[in-house]
Amino acid sequence: MSRPIPYRFRLYVAGEAENSSRALANLQAICRTCLGGRHAIEIVDVFKEPARCLADRVFMTPTLVRLEPAPVRTIVGTLSDTDAVLRVLGLTASAV
């Protein structure tokens, strides 16, 4: 616990669409098991903020962006492949 919130994520979702809901659920589960609450998730709904999607060049939903720690990483999809997501985020299931 070097910093108060070392993990900051942004998740782009398409309203209540199935893929987006699953991605949010998967992300929350991973964060719970691996990060123990040391994280913040910002949710952007593309239907509500289409201009922002365009500006951020997000075209596929759901899209997860890890803003911190640097570098910025982007994962597209429902985040159903937990191992892959952890690898990208530099985490392991045991690193609680």
């Binding site: 699953r22 999607c53 075209f59 982007t74 994962i75 597209v76 429902t78 990208v88």
Partner: protein, 582 residues
């Protein structure tokens, strides 16, 4: 979820098609791609998909007041804009109100976990489309994003999502996707995204193949719901104005007006043979072996056209323009002044390589730029060079079709195979069947000489001489000489000259002989006259002699009678009988 946008419905019958701005394609499809629907453009790498799609947006934004969105999955927007400037479309000036680019390239470090959908993109685009009032949209290289989807079901789902979104927003869309060559040959199965072809309302296949080292491009409309279209492959080229699709005359297109105006061939006697010259806008074919003065005859035509003040384009695939001007000057055809004045443009196309279609497009562009009224292509047979055999005939047809439509008098020469023995072989392009006037030049080998013979094989709509004439090139120009038939064989060159000379000699001889005879007769007559005179003199002499004789005889008689009387008187015996005396 996609929502219906409040775009007013304007599905009037005349507005069911959206022009693509591609010459030829709009004609093939009778107006363009289906308005408010989705069209798919499939082709291999470098087949012209992006240019096709970009032209669609440029023409919409520039001329039709239909702004558009370009969604680029494959190329960066900056590079796209720069690339398109090469076609003279100032795409940059149309951004952002006419054309809005959306860079949707997946980030190179993008990681994927599980399935995803395109809702984000569609939501973003919907907002953009509404803001700029877009009517057209292009998804360039949609296959890139589809390939990221984990399975075929997900791919299909996203394509249907896209389709539904496009329909709801009443956007006329072009989706481009890559396909390798075999798929574009009409096979619809096996292609990873073949279901797209079933879904869309119009599918255009762009094919790019290499035949014997020559690039050949063709375009085919695979399907077009609710419209008739030309189902055949149409060759196209990527020229300086983008795609240029070749079209032949379609049924129903009205014929260009036929004129009865004649234009001179540049050789006075040939005009006479043709009953006054070529028709304007006719296609004239000159065939012959190498060196039979095909170019010279073309040059004579060009010179006479320039003399009439008609803009002329001379395309040579054999030699440089300056060489032709110099060479033709040696036979009294002076093109140099017209080249200088700009009336005549000489194009050396010796170095131009490429498909027949490319050559045609280039010639068309040159003729258009020059505003040519007369066009010479020397020789047109290069169109059928290696690799172009299949397409060349179609190109020749379109060449003639185009010149007629534009009222250009076309003269093309065609080289015949040297080994061919027949004097009237058909040309490889079958131009001979299309041409209005076909002049054949031939060598006649006789008595150790090769002489050029000219014959009009056909000339539609004009009376024409059936006679083979000898074509004579001299420093004074091109002339046609009568040829002699001697013993059933045509006589040309030196033999003709000899024949002419001997005839001249014979005529002279006959004249001399008759003169001689007249002289002799005169002499005889004169002699007779002389004899007549002398005889007359003799006659007079004889008459005189006879008179004298009579006179003498009478005198004698009188003398003797007088003597007898005297004697009687002297004797005094008898009386003179008075009555006995006269």
């Amino acid at each position: 979820m996609p929502r219906l946008s409040p775009v007013s419905k304007r599905a009037a019958p005349a507005r069911t098609k959206a022009a693509t701005g591609i010459p030829g394609l709009d004609k093939i499809t009778d107006g363009g791609i289906p308005r408010g629907r989705t069209s798919l453009v499939i082709g291999g790498p470098g087949s012209g998909k992006t240019i096709f799609a970009m032209r669609f947006l440029v023409v919409g934004a520039e001329s039709l007041g239909e702004p558009g969105i370009f969604v680029a999955f494959e190329e960066s927007v900056d590079r796209l804009v720069v690339n398109m400037d090469g076609f003279g479309w100032n795409v940059g000036a149309l951004v952002p109100d006419g054309i809005c680019f959306v860079d949707a390239q997946p980030a190179p470090d993008l990681i994927q976990s599980g399935t995803f959908d395109l809702d984000g993109m569609l939501a973003a685009l919907e907002g953009l489309a509404r803001r700029m009032g877009a009517k057209r949209i292009v998804f360039d290289a949609l296959d890139i994003v589809l390939a990221l989807l984990p399975d075929a079901a997900a791919q299909r789902r996203e394509v249907y999502r896209l389709h539904a979104w496009l329909a709801a927003n009443e956007l006329t869309a072009i989706i481009t996707a890559k396909a390798s060559a075999p798929e574009t040959e009409g096979k619809t199965t096996g292609h990873p995204f073949s279901f797209m072809q079933f879904m869309v309302d119009c599918a255009v296949l762009l094919n790019h193949s290499v035949v014997l080292g020559v690039s050949q491009r063709s375009l085919r409309i695979q399907k077009y719901r609710g419209s008739g279209f030309n189902e055949n492959e149409s060759p196209f080229v990527i020229g300086k104005n983008g795609l240029d699709v070749a079209i032949s005359r379609m049924l129903g297109r009205s014929d260009s007006e036929a004129t009865s105006e004649r234009v001179s061939s540049g050789v006075a006697r040939l005009d006479t043979m043709l009953g006054g010259g070529y028709y304007r806008a006719a296609a004239i074919l000159i065939t012959g072996f190498p060196g039979t003065a095909k170019t010279t005859l073309s040059g004579a035509f060009a010179e006479s056209a320039c003399r009439r003040g008609e803009r002329t384009l001379f395309v040579s695939f054999d030699s440089d323009g300056v060489e032709i001007v110099r060479n033709l000057a040696s036979v009294g055809i002076r093109l140099a002044p017209y080249v200088k004045s700009g009336l005549l443009q000489m194009i050396s196309a010796r170095t131009i390589t490429g498909s027949a279609e490319t050559l045609l497009v280039r010639i068309k562009a040159l003729a258009h730029d020059h505003r040519a009224q007369c066009l010479v292509i020397d020789p047109v047979s290069v169109l059928a060079q290696t690799g172009n055999e299949l397409t060349a005939h179609g190109v020749a047809e379109r060449l003639i079709d185009w010149t007629k439509a534009d009222n250009i008098t076309l003269m093309c020469t065609s080289l015949l195979d040297e080994m061919s023995s027949s004097a009237q072989t058909t040309t490889p392009l079958h131009v001979s069947t299309l041409a209005d006037t076909w002049i054949h030049l031939n060598y006649l080998v006789q008595a150790g000489e090769r002489n050029r013979g000219l014959a009009i094989i056909k000339s539609r709509g004009t009376a024409h001489s059936n006679q083979v004439r000898e074509l004579i090139l001299s420093a004074d120009g091109v002339t046609l000489a009568d040829i002699y038939t001697a013993g059933g064989e045509v006589v040309m060159g030196t033999l003709r000259w000899e024949k002419e000379r001997s005839q001249r000699a014979a005529a002279e001889g006959a004249e001399v002989a008759s003169k001689l005879k007249r002289v002799r007769l005169d002499a005889e007559e004169a002699e007779l006259q002389v004899r007549l005179k002398s005889l007359h003199t003799e006659l007079v002499a004889k008459q005189v002699e006879r008179t004298l004789l009579a006179h003498t005889t009478e005198n004698n008689a009188q003398e003797s009678s007088r003597g007898r009387t005297r004697i009687r008187e002297l004797r005094g015996a008898d009386l003179p009988k008075r009555a006995a005396r006269k």
